[in-house]
């Protein structure tokens, strides 16, 4: 089954990097991109993704606020995975409390992102800070 992915980050160059990494995986499809939380909320309704890959720090509406509002949509099949610069246990807790299923630090995205998307697309939790030697699933 195809995993439909929406990328949300305010830097186009980061979205491009995420896209090249994710589209190398057979069966995964990047169905769209958004540059902030507000745009993401609109695109979720139109594109019906399975996984939203979400940055934390963005203009207009940050990722945490967007994640909370995504949960209110009641889409049980939709999962949120944060990919962020914030290598912080506190921020990771905030993200999970907001309803995210996964948390990956940008500096380690090359190592962790594919495994994280695979896990959250199967509704499993995946978290990995940069300092942690191993990701936990």
């Amino acid at each position: 089954m195809t995993v439909r992915i929406l990328l949300v980050d305010d830097h186009p160059i980061v979205r491009q990097g995420l896209r090249t990494l994710l589209e190398g995986r057979p069966g995964w499809q990047v169905v769209g991109e958004a540059s902030d939380g507000i745009e993401a909320l609109d695109k979720i309704d139109v594109l019906e993704p399975d996984v939203v890959v979400l940055d934390v720090t963005m203009p207009r509406m940050n990722g945490l606020e967007a994640c909370r509002l995504i949960q209110l949509k009641g889409k049980t099949s939709l999962e949120v995975l944060f990919v962020t610069q914030h290598d912080s246990p506190q921020m990771m807790r905030e993200a999970l409390d907001a309803g995210a299923r996964g948390y990956v630090v940008k500096s380690n995205a090359g190592r962790d992102l594919l495994e994280a998307v695979e896990a959250v697309s199967q509704h499993r939790v995946f978290t990995a800070l940069a300092r942690s030697p191993h990701a936990s699933c």
Binding site: I13, G17, R19, Q85, Q90, K106
Partner: protein, 233 residues
């Protein structure tokens, strides 16, 4: 002959995005990728790229000091600095370090190809805000862009700035010694000299100095702005 580009950024996804953008251009190739400043300097010496693109906020050796070391080794290196901030101080330091291009990361998809083209044609490229600052201050007044206080950096040597960054990133003197291939005693001497020159009294003071002078960069998360914890990026 192909234009050879070396990329230096600690985030693999950013490097992937940059690669994807640059390699679409016929006649351009990314000849190497470095994940920190020290690696970038070593790779540049070996690969002799036509253009080096360096992120400012890299571990071990930041982009500004990377630029300084590259140009000290070979003044013909053409360096584009990538940054998340366009503060006056960062712009001034990038210009002082000898960068010929200055591009905001948020605008990289739009500006980076133009920046590389400019350097290829022996011109410079700066994001529009830098051009405004240059016009407003640098050229008209015949000196550096206006500043509110004199820079602290010139009081440290290049080696001392390297040691400062590594200590501010949380490494011990022993770890710094291993990374820089020095004895622990030599690192301790550098550390004492740094503290004395800057009138600092603790590692906490050193970290604050490093942040204020763009030796390391921090980004505060949106929900934790009142919490003292910071994230080094």
């Amino acid at each position: 002959m192909k234009l050879r580009i070396l990329l230096a950024d600690d985030h693999e996804i950013v490097r992937r995005g940059l690669c994807s953008l640059l390699q679409k251009r016929e006649g351009w190739e990314v000849c190497g990728e470095a994940s920190d400043g020290r690696e970038a300097v070593e790779m540049a010496k070996q690969l002799k790229p036509d253009v080096v693109i360096v992120d400012i906020g890299m571990p071990y050796l930041n982009g500004l000091d990377t630029t300084r070391q590259l140009l000290q080794h070979d003044p013909n290196f053409k360096v584009i600095v990538l940054t998340i901030t366009d503060s006056d101080q960062v712009i001034r330091e990038a210009l002082d370090a000898g960068a010929r291009g200055f591009v905001l990361k948020s605008d990289a998809a739009r500006d980076l190809v133009a920046a590389v083209e400019a350097l290829q044609s022996k011109r410079m490229f700066f994001t529009p805000r830098v051009n405004d600052l240059v016009l407003a201050g640098f050229l008209e007044k015949g000196h550096a862009i206006s500043r509110t206080e004199p820079p602290d950096l010139p009081t440290l040597t290049a080696r001392e700035r390297e040691v400062t960054q590594l200590l501010a990133e949380g490494k011990s003197s022993k770890e710094v010694a291993v990374l820089l291939n020095l004895s622990t005693k030599t690192v301790e001497t550098h550390r004492s000299n740094i503290m004395r020159k800057l009138s600092l009294h603790s590692i906490r003071d050193l970290v604050v100095y490093a942040i204020k002078n763009n030796i390391i960069q921090i980004q505060m998360p949106p929900q934790l702005r009142t919490v003292s914890e910071t994230t080094v990026v």
